[in-house]
């Protein structure tokens, strides 16, 4: 029962984050909202697996956590450097 309540609480939190993603105002607010929405989705999937007594779906939650991080990093890299091919300062560059 408590599991369902926690699930509902997270869904309400998701709704709040959707509002933030819709209204902005800056692009960084939206990125923050998308990233945090991803974390909440991971939690929803984990909780949902336990609510329906089939926690085997946790693999998807793991994939989500990974993808969410990579996508956030790609978006931020895009906004910082203007394209994704940009290579930051790396030890290899100094050797060459």
């Amino acid at each position: 029962m408590m599991l369902s309540a926690a699930l509902i609480a997270i869904l309400v939190g998701m709704a709040l984050l959707l509002i933030r993603a819709f209204v902005g105002p800056t692009i960084y607010d939206r990125i923050l909202a998308v990233n945090n929405f991803g974390t909440k989705t991971v939690l929803v999937l984990a909780l949902y697996g336990f609510v329906t007594e089939r926690p085997d779906f946790l693999d998807i939650a793991i994939v989500y956590a990974l993808c969410n991080f990579i996508a956030t990093m790609a978006i931020l890299k895009y906004f910082e450097y203007g394209d994704l091919g940009h290579v930051g300062k790396q030890p290899e560059d100094e050797k060459l």
Binding site: L11, I27, I31, V34, G38, Y48, Y64, I75, Y78
Partner: protein, 184 residues
């Protein structure tokens, strides 16, 4: 237990609808890329709720990760920071088409069997055989995987070839650019 499943289902669908509406109203490409990220997170969560775990897996990897990155790469190639001009010449026509299409789909849905009905035609043909025999025949615990990779192997091969070709196209478009940069 059933009630919470319905609640999650409908809440996620509601979020999906809201996101889709906002995407269609926004005229900045970055915002829509970002919102598409949320959209595919929601879609994949819905797939999990509907028990289509394998599709959810694909949607999580492709929708959230790869397509976001691909769209951003495309944006950085085209460099279109401008707002897209919206052409709204005849909203009445578009509205009419949408309503007619929606109504046709609704009529079509009425003829479909109940959701998860074990006696639906699709569940009576080869599905029971796969469900009972695939583990002993193919030795892979996931039935969907054994259907896709073995029983329907040729079909999947065709799909993979299509995706491979598309991938080559994308690489050819994106890699040419970075190659030039390296020479600079």
């Amino acid at each position: 237990m059933i009630a919470i499943e319905f609640l999650v289902n409908f809440t996620l669908l509601g979020f999906l609808l809201a996101t889709a509406l906002v995407i269609s109203r926004t005229n900045r490409l970055f915002q829509s890329v970002m919102l598409f990220g949320i959209y595919s997170l929601l879609t994949a969560a819905l797939f999990v709720v509907l028990d289509a775990v394998d599709v959810a897996f694909t949607e999580a990897a492709v929708g959230t990760c790869i397509s976001t990155i691909l769209m951003l790469s495309a944006l950085s190639l085209t460099g279109s920071r401008r707002e897209v001009a919206m052409h709204r010449k005849s909203p009445a026509l578009a509205l009419g088409v949408s309503i007619a299409l929606g109504a046709a789909l609704a009529v079509g849905i009425m003829d479909m069997p109940e959701f998860a009905d074990p006696n639906a035609p699709a569940n009576l043909h080869v599905a029971p055989y796969y469900l009972t025999e695939s583990v002993s025949e193919i030795d892979i615990p996931n039935v969907v995987t054994s259907v896709l990779a073995s029983y329907r192997g040729y079909d999947t091969l065709g799909e993979v070839v299509v995706i491979f070709t598309a991938g080559i196209g994308v690489i050819a478009l994106l890699a040419g650019r970075t190659g030039k940069r390296d020479e600079d």
